[in-house]
Symmetry: C2
Subunit: 239 residues, 2 copies
C-alpha cells in the first residue's frame, strides 16, 4: 500500500540476479526486505555476487530510487544434483480450477487484474461482518493474467500474490505493508517449463498477529501435486 505490488518488486530484484552474466546455478532461496515506498518512475538495481563456491553462489541485491535504498535482497543460487528425495507437505484436497469462479479483481489494488484467482476458501470479503472465530487460511488456484509460462520470476511474484492475511482473519480495511519476504524454490527451471501456463494451487496462513506485525506461511503447488515453492513473510499493519 506504499507503492507497487510487492511481488513485482521481488520479481525485479530476483531477475537482477538471473540476468547477471556471472550467475551460476538456479535460485534456491531469495529474501527481499521492503525498505521504503517506490514511486512510479526510474530505479536502479545492483546485484553483486558476495561469494561463489563450487555448487552455490550468494548474492546481495539493492534497489535504489534517487538517493534512497528502497529494497534490499539476498539470493542463494545452486547447481542441484539428483539425490534421495521425499515430499512431506500434503497437496490440499481441492476441486479443479475450472470448477470454481474467478474472484473479482479489486479496484483499489490494480495488480489483482494481473492474476486469475479461483478461491477454494479464504477469499477476501471485506464487506462481511467480522467473524471472531475466522481463521486466516486461504487456498486458491492462481495464474498470471494474461497467461504466461511459469518461471522463477513469475513464481516469486505469485508466491506474494496472496491477499494480506489480516483481511481474511479480520475483514476490516487497514494500512499494511510487507517488510520482509522469503521464498524457497523447490523446483528447477525444467519443472517450471513443464508446468507451462496452468494455474498453481496456492495456500497461505498466519501464525500470529501481534502489535503491528503478522506473519504468513505459504505453499505453491503444481496441479500434479509437485511442491514448487514455500514462502514466508512478515507484514506491518497499523491498527
Amino acid at each position: 500500500m506504499v507503492g507497487p505490488f510487492g511481488g513485482v518488486i521481488a520479481a525485479k530484484l530476483l531477475n537482477a540476479v538471473l540476468l547477471h552474466p556471472a550467475r551460476l546455478g538456479e535460485p534456491i532461496a531469495f529474501t527481499v526486505n521492503y525498505a521504503g515506498p517506490i514511486a512510479d518512475g526510474e530505479f536502479e538495481l545492483e546485484a553483486k555476487p558476495a561469494r561463489t563456491n563450487r555448487s552455490t553462489q550468494h548474492w546481495v541485491v539493492e534497489l535504489r530510487q534517487g538517493q534512497e535504498t528502497a529494497a534490499t535482497a539476498t539470493a542463494v543460487c545452486a547447481a542441484r544434483r539428483e539425490t534421495w528425495s521425499a515430499l512431506e507437505a500434503r497437496f490440499p484436497e481441492v476441486p479443479p480450477p475450472d470448477a470454481l469462479p474467478r474472484h473479482p479483481t479489486l479496484g483499489r489494488a490494480v495488480w489483482t487484474e494481473r492474476y486469475d484467482m479461483r478461491f477454494v476458501r479464504g477469499a477476501l470479503e471485506l464487506s462481511s461482518p467480522p467473524a471472531p472465530d475466522q481463521d486466516s487460511v486461504s487456498t486458491l488456484w492462481v495464474r498470471d493474467e494474461p497467461p504466461r509460462p511459469l518461471d522463477f520470476v513469475s513464481l516469486v511474484a505469485i508466491s506474494d500474490s496472496f491477499f494480506p492475511r489480516i483481511f481474511v482473519r479480520r475483514p476490516v480495511w487497514a494500512p499494511i505493508g510487507t517488510v520482509s519476504y522469503t521464498t524457497y524454490f523447490h523446483a528447477d527451471s525444467a519443472m517450471l517449463a513443464a508446468h507451462g501456463d496452468a494455474h498453481v494451487l496456492a495456500t497461505a496462513r498466519a501464525n500470529q498477529f501481534r502489535n503491528g506485525y503478522f506473519d504468513q506461511a505459504a505453499e505453491v503447488w503444481a496441479r500434479d501435486g509437485t511442491l514448487l515453492a514455500t514462502s514466508h513473510q512478515i507484514v506491518y499493519y497499523k491498527e
Copy 2:
C-alpha cells in the same frame, strides 16, 4: 558441518545489529545466508543501516574472514505499538519439561552440549533402521546449558538448534549445511525478559527434501503458550 554451529553464527550477526549505536527499535525479521565455512579464529563483522524510517530500520550485515565473505545477513528492526492481536498457531499438547529425560549430547556435534533438550517426539536416533513412513516432525523442550536468560541473541540461536530434519526423516548420516535461515520475532524484549531462563517449546518439520535441498519450518513457544518466534531454513544435503 563446515564450521561452527549455525545458530551461534546467526547470533553473532544479529548481535552486530543489536550493539550498533545507530540501531532503533527491536528485531522483527532476520535472515542469514551461510556463504562458506568459518574457521576457528578471528573474523570481522560489519553492520550497516541501509535505510531508517520513522518506525522501521533495515540492516545489511556481512561476516568476513580473511579476504572472503563467509556470511551475509539482513535485519529489519521496528518500534512496535499496541494493536489488535490474535494468535492462530496452536501450542502443542506436551508434557512439562521436568517429565522428560534430557537427550544425550552428540559427540560429533559439540554445540549440543550447550543445550538441554527434552524430546516429546522426533529425537535423533541415527542407529535405528530407516523407517520409510517416518515424518520429520520434532517437538522438544530446549534451553541454554548452562541456563541463560532468554534474549534475541539466544532466541535466534535456539531457533536454529534443531537437528537437521533429514536425520529425523531418514536416520542415516550425510553431509548437510544450512544455506539460508530466517527468523521472525513475535516477542519483544520485555516478553523475553519475563520468560527468564525457562525451557522453550520448539517444534520443526520439513515440507520437502528434493535433489540436494530440504526446508524446515519451526516455531518456538514460551511455556505459557506465547509464540516467541517462527523460523525457516533451507539446507543442503549431499546424498
